[in-house]
Symmetry: C2
Subunit: 266 residues, 2 copies
């Protein structure tokens, strides 16, 4: 059974793309077949994985418009890891698909036609709650929320959870929030401590209720701020190919262990 | 004559809101009447200035739909500074306004009706190149581009400049790029040096051409990474009210001087 995970936060620059690239690579290195999907017109995940947006091959845009099956769009990166690239035209998809019946469920339908035998699918999303992100929410089993422990990033969480709740009620009843991933974490700052305390209190208060985040936790593996994580995309590499002994590699390795434990509870 | 400045970068989390809040406050403190406009449905500028999104008063959404004039929506924050708040409903504006004739020029029309005698108008934008950002581009005399000196942030610049060029050709012939503002600047990193060198080379190569960024420079006042800038929005304060002796306050003061020199060349 494929587990589809969407990495979403409409707040910009919180570490979504960096998490899909590196968490994805770490999970694949652990022997699990995994497909990354770039649903962002900025095509940053595509660049991060060393692919060229719009190069001679179908991408997620062609998959959404029905011009290519997902299996043809997935590019094999290594033994266990594949990626479906994005392209700038994807920005047009938001407007083009607006009047399609069931427009939020196009990605879900394409994924159900996929025969490549992936164990996990991980979707990177743009910084908005528009149609592309809604497609990821409709297709996902779980949402993981990367969060920078800053005030402004925390403010947007309410809006995101409201949208998740609506999608769960109307389109995807199985949708749950898997957890929150702390990114660019600066443990020594007072602000990070305050934001994390606020967030823990909020999640505790939801325990036992029927909201999609009732069982959600903050993953204990936080991703520390580490310049190597900002350097590696310029070489089209993940942190493991660029600097496997950096804090960034250690943190994403630890997160991958927690991710796998989350999906295969003893 | 009012100078309208749009602060734009579709890459998320690069310091747009932080720049509008603090640069705006510093320019107003210099004795210039200024109005900030929050065009982002996240309403982060509204929160940063200590206002409540959606509180009992018209905001930018009502201005765009024609239900309130801009003068009624502007909230006076101090002697020289006012702000037009945003509200979550603004996200709906993107879809609601799609079929309005001249949909990109609504903000420009509202600004031309404004009688409050502002010297500068500064617009904060969401991390996208959708209709809300296009409205800011159509209304602006100059675009200032906040940029984090990271690889992924630099990648998006081409797309942004292409959009600016299209708006200049079709909707707003006077539109120019005023300059690039380095945010969260970590001077000691090799990555920052590489990105800045790349960017300078790119801007130099455009000199003398007819593109909107032919005269654009990187402002010499860079905004260093400084946790106080991430703390002050949680108190609804600018950096000057929160910690006037911090690096953040010094850097935005220096940027304000450069901003004012840009608009009043000797
Ligand atoms: N832990 C980290 N330490 C240092 N830099 C990081 C870290 N994680 C990400 N970055 C850098 O910070 C910037 C923002 O990260 P990223 O682009 O992954 O965020 P995003 O949420 O995908 O942004 P967007 O909203 O634009 O899609 C990038 O330049 C990235 O290289
Ligand atoms: N110079 C700085 N040093 C440290 N933190 C900063 C600095 N500038 C901004 N920040 C923090 O970094 C985060 C991103 O900044 P900000 O929200 O202003 O970016 P933005 O481009 O407006 O994001 P969005 O794309 O979501 O609108 C915020 O939490 C902010 O408080
Ligand atoms: Mg991204
Ligand atoms: Mg912002």
């Amino acid at each position: 059974v494929v587990q589809t995970v969407a990495i979403i936060n409409q707040k910009g620059g919180v570490g979504k793309t960096t998490t899909v690239a590196n968490l994805g690579a770490a999970v694949a290195a652990g022997g699990h077949r995994l497909c990354l999907i770039d649903m962002d017109p900025q095509a940053h995940l595509t660049l991060h994985m060393g692919l060229e947006p719009g190069a001679n091959q179908p991408g997620i845009y062609q998959v959404l418009t029905g011009d290519a099956p997902l299996d043809d769009a997935a590019v094999k990166l290594n033994e266990n890891l594949s990626a479906v690239p994005s392209v700038i035209d994807l920005a047009a998809a938001e407007t083009e698909l607006v009047s399609v019946v069931g427009r939020e469920q196009i990605l879900r339908d394409r994924l159900s036609d996929c025969n490549s035998g992936f164990e996990y699918v991980m979707v990177d999303c743009p910084p908005s709650l528009g149609l592309l992100t809604l497609n990821a929410l409709a297709a996902a089993d779980y949402v993981f929320i990367p969060l920078q422990a800053h005030f402004l990033a925390l403010q947007g969480l309410g809006m995101l959870l409201e949208t998740i709740s609506l999608v769960q009620q109307r389109i995807n009843p199985a949708l749950k929030v898997g957890g929150v991933i702390l990114c660019m974490y600066e443990k020594q700052t007072r602000l990070a401590g305050e934001v994390v305390a606020d967030l823990e209190e909020f999640l505790q208060a939801a325990r036992g209720s029927d909201v999609p985040w009732a069982d959600a936790n903050i993953f204990s593996a936080a991703i520390r701020r580490n310049i190597k994580l900002a350097e590696c995309p310029s070489y089209g590499k993940t942190i493991f190919d660029y600097d496997p002994y950096s804090h960034g590699a250690m943190d994403y390795d630890a997160l991958a262990e927690e991710f796998l434990a989350f999906f295969s509870p003893q």
